[in-house]
Symmetry: C2
Subunit: 334 residues, 2 copies
């Protein structure tokens, strides 16, 4: 691989001049620039980003830490990040965490090892190490999906999301409404499912109704478990006529289970999901839409702004808007 030295030698200039050409500094005469550029093109020289980062004291990498690719909603967020990072001078590095505690050290590396210009963390609780050292580091941090003190956060109002779903079902005349949610995940410290449930119950209570304990199910993993849970609910002597599922994937599972038993959706059973992942529009799922793609793109914009030295309010917390999108898995109670 050719180095800046090689270019300098062949062009008959100093390395400083070559550097200036690369970074198009105005302090180079046109003729010199042309000569240097010719050599660069000729030998196909590429500056080493590593050396550059070392010299500059910062890298050109934006690191995303996420339980990535396990869930379509994360993928959609990632697409948002990528769409913004792609247009910048930064590169996108993905750190996927399966079990945060195992990877605390590597995660630490990513954030404090000089590897990242900025870090975006998605759907994870703050690890002790991160929270602790946060102050001492100059690396811009953005948190998506969780609230962390002193770090700009992009969140949604899960509570309100739950209310939205309940209200929709209530307005359709349903009185027997069930709930299938994620089991609270200690690994990642998620509480969003609980919050959605709380909002859901509140709204129902506001109508003078209640959610019977027997109508509530918590499942560990996506569709399969959700289908099983739905089967149990349907086997009840007085089964619910509507279901709020805390993710689209859970909703898919529930619908599948219902249809497999000859229960028509939305004829006999209405189902509302949460997320609005790409597939849901096609399946016609009624769902509480959260701006997944946008949460990604905005987190990247925030990181870029902090990198550019813009004054980003690190105590800010952006609540992204939720919206019930009504499609064809919910209908009036008969």
């Amino acid at each position: 691989m050719a180095t800046i030295q090689d270019v300098a030698r062949r062009a008959g200039v100093g390395v400083g001049t070559v550097s200036r050409v690369i970074n198009n500094s105005p302090l180079v005469s046109d003729t010199t620039r042309a000569r240097v550029q010719a050599v660069i093109d000729e030998i196909g020289y590429r500056p080493s980003t590593v050396a550059r980062a070392l010299s500059l004291g910062h890298s050109s990498i934006i690191t995303v830490v996420a339980p990535f690719l396990t869930d379509p909603s994360v993928v959609l967020r990632l697409r948002g990040v990528a769409s913004v990072v792609r247009e910048s001078e930064y590169d996108l590095v993905l750190y996927d965490v399966e079990a945060p505690e195992q990877h605390a050290a590597r995660l630490d590396d990513a954030i404090y090892g000089g590897r990242s210009a900025a870090v975006i963390v998605m759907s994870l609780a703050a690890s002790g190490a991160i929270a602790q050292k946060r102050e001492s580091s100059k690396v811009p941090l953005v948190w998506v999906d969780r609230r962390i003190d002193g770090v700009p956060c992009l969140t949604i109002d899960d509570h309100e999301g739950g209310r939205l779903a309940a209200r929709h079902l209530l307005e359709l005349g349903h009185r027997h409404i069930g709930f299938i949610g994620d089991r609270p995940d200690e690994r990642f410290g998620f509480t969003s499912g609980d919050d959605r449930f709380a909002g859901f119950c509140e709204e129902i209570a506001a109508s003078g109704l209640a959610v019977p304990g027997g109508y509530v199910r918590r499942v560990a993993h996506g569709m399969e478990d959700a289908a099983t849970a739905m089967g149990e609910l349907l086997a009840l002597p007085d089964p619910p006529t509507a279901i709020f599922a805390t993710s689209d994937l859970i909703a898919y599972g529930a619908i599948e289970a219902a249809r497999a038993r000859g229960v028509r959706v939305p004829g006999d059973l209405s189902v509302v999901g949460f997320d609005d992942i790409a597939m849901s529009a096609h399946i016609g799922l009624t769902t509480v839409r959260q701006p997944l793609f946008e949460s990604g793109s905005r987190s990247a914009e925030l990181a870029l702004a902090m990198l550019a030295g813009d004054d980003v309010d690190t105590t800010a917390e952006w609540d992204l808007p939720l919206e019930l999108v009504e499609r064809s898995t919910t209908g009036p109670h008969r």
Copy 2:
């Protein structure tokens, strides 16, 4: 951020010794090691990966270049890569390409800018620059989904995949079989759709039948277009009783369109997809399964092996096995 110098000073040793401790070289006495380690822990020192990479002459990054996240099949491949890279000492960097020609320069950077220890390219034709410089670089390259001379490739036999689908439909007694495929994508230089079509036609021809031109549709993007195409096919005076779709997404669109018109699947229409993405098992789609996850994990293993200095045959071409998985969207012709 603390440096190796700080550690050396505080521990009263030379930087060399600290370096040896970090990289647990045996050439350090136990007492010295303990003392240095104590200082490291105390001040929370993290070696700079950037400086390390510069000194070593290679980074600890495995770069994946892919039209990533646009397609569930790519995501599944990525998961395969991540599962392997996660267990190694390398980090995963994602370069998403929307339009390869626009990003040729940055792609070049990734491969030849000293940024990557190894590069895995997915679902892309070789750009001129890459092919051209390949020889001059020591960076291990692995190609997935395309055949490139001199680079280890992980591919499938698209032709055979087409035959598999046709055979299945033929065996079920179908004689009027339609085809909905991807439009050949010049941007990424894909020909897999054509190959699948060729194999499909051949197998049908072997039965003494033929695929009427009117039964063949090419669509640009996923489900929506596929649904439209299916609608057209269904509107034909003598519509097909079975469809081979060259991707699961296209199959979803076709099924959706059929059901929307009251055409039962598989009662009135059988549909075979291609890929077997995660959702397909749940939807019950009959499809030609290609080992997506495995193609990712194996490409990463290959890259790791080359990095470890193992002698990988760079002329090798691994054809991953295809398999028809029969589920509930195909049935006997009535």
